[in-house]
């Protein structure tokens, strides 16, 4: 039962790794892993441990050419931040959670951009990454709906309506 959030996250991630055969369209590919980690840590933190974040980050690292470990660190940091924020926002409305996600994801993307710029020793283009950021924000309701469905159908109690 405790592994359901992780399994749901991995399934969604695999679906969004599907080839879309377009470099330009690829910029619009949302980072589903981040949405799922954010959602599950906020709503069911006790079911989404650091190990789950480690697994999600590892998968993101392998399915990208960024240095192995970078996404793991960021996913685990995300869990730390959201665990702390959950005290105040766990029962917040959907719109508030969405706005919080926008802020957290922006911070995460900028930090990752800085880390990669230092790692590669040259400025990583930010404009394309920002397209992906906005696309991720647009996909947020859909991914959350899917996660809510999983939560309502496969997890006990705490039924929520979003």
């Amino acid at each position: 039962m405790h592994r359901i959030p992780l399994i749901a996250t991995l399934i969604l991630m695999f679906i969004f790794f599907m080839p879309i055969n377009s470099v330009r369209l690829n910029y619009f590919r949302p980072t589903v892993g981040v949405i799922c980690v954010y959602y599950w840590t906020l709503k069911r933190g006790y079911m989404f441990s650091y190990v789950s974040a480690f697994v999600v980050g590892l998968l993101m690292d392998v399915y990208s050419s960024s240095p192995l470990g970078l996404n793991i660190v960021f996913m685990m940091l995300l869990v730390s931040v959201i665990n702390w924020l959950a005290r105040y926002f766990q029962s917040a409305s959907f719109n508030v959670c969405w706005a919080l996600f926008a802020a957290v994801e922006l911070g995460q993307i900028l930090l990752k951009w800085l880390a990669l710029t230092i790692y590669f020793g040259r400025l990583v283009v930010l404009s394309e990454v920002m397209i992906s950021y906005f696309s991720t924000l647009m996909f947020y309701p859909l991914i959350v709906c899917l996660n809510v469905w999983v939560q309502n159908h496969f997890l006990p109690q705490e039924r929520i309506n979003e």
Binding site: P19, G33, L68, G69, F120, V124
Partner: protein, 292 residues
């Protein structure tokens, strides 16, 4: 009863300490991974291989519906373009017939000159076709995951889509290979401008048009010039088309890649019998040791 309660509390405290230590260990492991990635050690290769092997079959199942949707879209898109394509192809055909005659003459001339120079031609390249099963899962990078089956593929081998270079093999595990696209920030390919032989390095920057670096200020480069591999470094053979100059603004030269990724379902991984990256690195260090 009281003792049992104390033991239970102590056990919980110990469990909490262990849990916290485990989180710290996970963080340390992640940072170590990043540091090791810089050196590209065996640990990183093994970790990549294990995850790719474990998740590859899932991706093969997941990508099937996407492939069907793409085929249906391409089918209708192609129908819509039949008339214009036909006209363009007729024009192209005329040009090709003229070129064919020229090529025949050049081929004969080449054979005669080669015989005169006692020239040994390079071995024919061999290639395998690999199916694309996944794309980058991160918005900071451009890569593909391809299914290679049991074919022997080495790190550093060139990857062609249609007829031009789209990237190189970065990591190989059992049945899967990770391909870094020329647009990725990790990609750096020695190239030459075909018309003027001006050399440079084509460096990906995560945009659709990689940048041409380290060209001479006086180099004669114009928009539309074709960029091909230079063969410098021995990783890639010379003369493989990559793209054409799309824009020049001051010292910044952008190159648009020729390969239409939207039409690529399968890529060709070519073995030109050249040394791979590891061999080149090994040779480099051995020659350094010899020099010492």
């Amino acid at each position: 009863m009281w003792r049992r309660g104390v033991l239970l509390i102590k056990f919980r405290e110990l469990k909490d300490i262990l849990r916290r230590s485990f989180v710290v260990i996970l963080f340390i492991a992640s940072f170590l991974f990043i540091l090791i990635s810089k050196v590209d050690g065996v640990v990183v290769e093994t970790a990549h291989g294990l995850v790719m092997d474990a998740t590859g079959p899932i991706m093969q199942v997941v990508e099937f519906p996407s492939r069907i949707i793409h085929r249906v879209y391409t089918y209708f898109y192609d129908i819509g373009r039949i008339y214009t394509d036909n006209r363009e192809l007729r024009e192209e055909n005329k040009q090709m017939l003229i070129l064919q005659n020229k090529v025949r003459t050049l081929e004969v001339e080449n054979q005669l000159l080669s015989r005169l120079l006692n020239y040994t031609p390079p071995e024919d390249a061999t290639f395998i076709s690999a199916k694309i099963i996944a794309e980058s899962g991160d918005n900071f990078t451009h890569m593909l995951l391809v299914y290679i089956g049991d074919e022997p593929v080495k790190k550093g081998q060139i990857v062609l889509g249609n007829e031009s270079v789209i990237g190189r093999v970065d990591k190989v595990s059992g049945h899967y290979a990770k391909v870094i696209l020329v647009t990725d920030i990790n990609s750096k390919i020695p190239v030459v401008v075909e018309r003027t032989r001006a050399r440079g390095i084509l460096a990906g920057d995560n945009t659709v048009a990689p940048t041409l670096l380290f060209t001479r200020e006086t180099a004669d480069i114009q928009e539309g010039d074709v960029v091909v591999t230079s063969g410098v470094g021995g990783m890639f053979p010379a003369g493989l088309p990559i793209g054409f100059i799309s824009s020049i603004s001051g010292r910044e030269i952008s190159v648009e890649t020729m390969a239409d990724i939207s039409r690529v379902e399968y890529v060709r991984i070519v073995d030109y019998g050249l040394s791979n990256e590891e061999e080149i690195r090994k040779d480099f260090f051995e020659s350094k040791d010899d020099a010492r």
